[in-house]
């Protein structure tokens, strides 16, 4: 996976074109990972802090 977009100009010189758009699904996936990670952490925390069942 490329991080940067690099092209060659008319004289064969490398030119920086910007960030690679291969990173777009990575940025989106990271957003989803944060959401899922927090949902899991939240559920575990809730379960840990729940009062023990009544005898």
């Amino acid at each position: 996976m490329e991080i940067l977009r690099i092209t060659r100009d008319a004289w064969g010189q490398e030119t920086l074109e910007g960030m690679s758009w291969d990173l777009l699904p990575v940025a989106f996936g990271l957003g989803i990972a944060i959401i899922i990670g927090h949902l899991v952490w939240r559920a575990l925390r809730k379960r840990r802090s729940a009062p023990p069942p009544a005898p």
């Binding site: 960030m19 940025a27 989106f28 944060i34």
Partner: protein, 209 residues
């Protein structure tokens, strides 16, 4: 009619208008930047640069207002915030998570705005003619990389920001960003009433520490 004593003001109307203009601008900018890359072809450039100028104006307004008319230090993450979190102490007006989100997302948007304004030199508009030779090719490359990196980070953090705002236990913050107010009980879950009780900054009882 007297105000409800159980409600406290969290955001002034001007700050809420700023927030929602910024939110709409960021969503339009992300859509006009990334949808064409995903294959949805439309004339994205006019929408993108005009919305970028709106976001730039909103950002400038916020910088001036936060620096000269609000308490800048109540939004800056400080060592005390980390020790408060560690020791289970409640926050003042903003929690550490809110401060960190603001710092990172704000920086990403600022970088996108500054580089975007430089990139306006490559766009013909009714106000100016394009000048692609303003910078040399390698410097343009750096500007594009910074703009793209800021946009990608903004995408990730916007997703997280929207998710957190919709959580049931954080719904008070969303209501405060819409109507300006939250209940004292909602605020007391995360905020120490001794350190932030919803009064204005010119109230001597308010310390925002």
């Amino acid at each position: 009619m007297s105000p409800d004593p159980n409600l406290i003001t969290r955001h002034a109307p001007v700050d809420r208008v700023f927030h929602w203009i910024t939110a709409l601008a960021v969503l339009l900018l992300l859509a006009s930047a990334f949808l064409p890359i995903l294959g949805l072809k439309f004339s994205w450039l006019p929408l993108h640069w005009i919305t970028g100028v709106v976001l730039g104006a909103a950002t400038l307004f916020h910088l001036v207002r936060a620096t000269f008319f609000q308490r800048l230090r109540c939004m800056v993450p400080r060592p005390r915030d980390f020790s408060d979190l560690k020791n289970g102490r409640r926050a003042a007006k903003y929690t550490l998570a809110q401060k960190l989100m603001h710092a990172v997302l704000g920086t990403a948007i600022l970088v996108a705005v500054v580089t975007g304004f430089i990139m306006l030199a490559k766009v013909d508009t009714p106000l100016w003619q394009r000048n692609p030779y303003l910078l040399d090719a390698s410097t343009w490359g750096v500007v594009y990389v910074l703009h793209g990196a800021a946009a990608l980070l903004t995408l990730t953090l916007t997703m997280a920001h929207v998710y957190f705002s919709l959580l049931p236990e954080k719904r008070g913050y969303l209501r405060a960003m819409i109507g300006g107010q939250m209940t004292r009980d909602e605020a007391a879950v995360y905020h120490d009433p001794q350190r932030w009780s919803g009064q204005r900054k010119d109230d001597p009882r308010e310390n925002h520490r």
